[in-house]
Symmetry: C2
Amino acid sequence: MSDERRMDVLRAIVEDYVATSEPVGSRALVERHSLGVSSATIRNDMAALEDSGYIAQPHTSAGRIPTDRGYRVFVDRLTTVKPLSAPEKRAISAFLEDAVDLDDVVDRSVRLLAQLTHQVAVVQYPSLRRSTLRHVELVPVGQRQLLVVLITDTGRVEQRTLEAARDLDEVVVAQLRATLAARVAGRRIAELAGLVDDLAEQYSADDLALLRRVVAVVEETLHQESEERVVLAGTANLARSKDDFARSLGPVLEALEEQVVLMRLLSDMAEDSATVSVRIGHETQHDGLVSTSFVTSGYGDESGAAVARVGAIGPTRMDYPATMATVRAVARYLTRILAG
Amino acid sequence: MSDERRMDVLRAIVEDYVATSEPVGSRALVERHSLGVSSATIRNDMAALEDSGYIAQPHTSAGRIPTDRGYRVFVDRLTTVKPLSAPEKRAISAFLEDAVDLDDVVDRSVRLLAQLTHQVAVVQYPSLRRSTLRHVELVPVGQRQLLVVLITDTGRVEQRTLEAARDLDEVVVAQLRATLAARVAGRRIAELAGLVDDLAEQYSADDLALLRRVVAVVEETLHQESEERVVLAGTANLARSKDDFARSLGPVLEALEEQVVLMRLLSDMAEDSATVSVRIGHETQHDGLVSTSFVTSGYGDESGAAVARVGAIGPTRMDYPATMATVRAVARYLTRILAG
DNA sequence: AAGTAGCACTCACCGTTCCCGAGTGCCAAT
DNA sequence: ATTGGCACTCGGGAACGGTGAGTGCTACTT
């Protein structure tokens, strides 16, 4: 028994099923692919593949469709992510380079990815936690309100207002600003806490309290929901599916609105070692997403640990090679843009 | 012929159809509503209503369903928006008051509205054009880069960076900052242009050029795409519909992703005089939205022209009185929160 | 004139039946 | 190991008829 041919058969089944949305039978297989054997042989192979849990039949006397496990094998062993064509690359690059600021970059990326993959695109904002600070700015607004603005090296700007205990003194604020500006540049936000501990003598108790408040606000910002925002685009693509996938959109849409679900998945996938990470069907660990797959890639740091992720979500019956290639490409260009 | 009863019949039809999602016949009508006449009489009335274009039958020998025109009459003349119950009000108020900043307010509002109406909620960010400035802050980042931060009275913060022609002088920047701070407070952004024209003598040519650049950047921000962002929530609610509405989600989702479409609708509706504005079916002037209605209300200014709008989008077969009440309530609380 | 009762008519919907053919599994032959 | 052959399964579509909700019309009542 040729294990190799079986894998060829599996690949053929996945490809055909992805292309046609219909269960594929042994006859159709030998016709569309030059496997060099007869349909009866294919049937034997298919029976074996079914025993191994890679394919299944919706009902007796129907063709086979890949199972989640089948797709998994396909993705892991039967496919190589092929680079995009030069024109495609140029289009991506050109489109992203016109962006004016971080929000615009993210917005353009997510739309672009949705359009290229014909699926739901997801872009996670660069994490504050792993970014370094370019600048901290304090702006008094009103008598007691102080606006704290953080600017990261990825161009992200976050602001919070805090209510001071006493009326603000312009001079003190300016002093704090200078102190912070000198100390935070290039630091990670997470390192911030210890940075001002030695200042106890230089400031009055009140002023020090204010300084600590500022630091506290910065740290709070870290843990805020907005820290790991994700942006979506292309939900309409879900409805385009020919099969009955379009009929059970409810749970999928719900899952997508639950940012928490996406967050968990994204951070799970950040652990994966491969450049492009894939979660297929039940692997998403979420009921609403059992019939979908999630393809993501890290971006934002040329070397090693990525700052955040981009990805695409679509029916498990998706074109994995193409999707993986596109996601990877967009992630790369995103990294390049942000570094530049 | 009693025109009054006919309107009663129309109201009953709308109410029943909204409740059941099924065409309503004459018999069911007399049973569920105490109209005091027989089904034959109702049939005559229904025939008249159909002639007037307020109702239609999907096919012979089926009940009637309201047309867009029918809903229009229902909304305009047959319904009064009833206030929410006290507990509901309290819930809204409590939920919105916990918000920490403008983004959070908007985010909470849109989720809340989606949940309360069981439809797709839309919140438009407060327009910069109509807001007044609370503060302008200039922050040098790097040698030549200047970060311009705008803070509006609605709490919205926008920032842009600009590249100066020469290296920045701390002192000059501080001076510009002071000048701007003194002049912009309480002004509309649109008024900004003329504010610095008289400063020609006080600054060197270079510095004046920089000042003009800053003003230019501010004005550019005005026309930027981000100016009129809208945020959505509850798209999953679209899929909950019992009838076949859920099957044609594609075009609807596409329309919702086209922010332009929503923008146009929102600005159209801003012209309406009523507090709560409704667009029914084809009135949306968009093919993807022919089977949906859009209920919006302005918010952000206690008197007169609103700064932006909130709304809900759902199937034309929606509970208009309830939706209108909820949208109006959320708009009011939103106004209150932003003012406070 | 407005309302009602009665009645013939229409037609979507539902369940039944039937048939077709794609697809399978198995077996004997190569 | 592969293949041709064959009996078997069963989903899906077409044809069919009965049922009942609903209508429109007409003749009668108030």
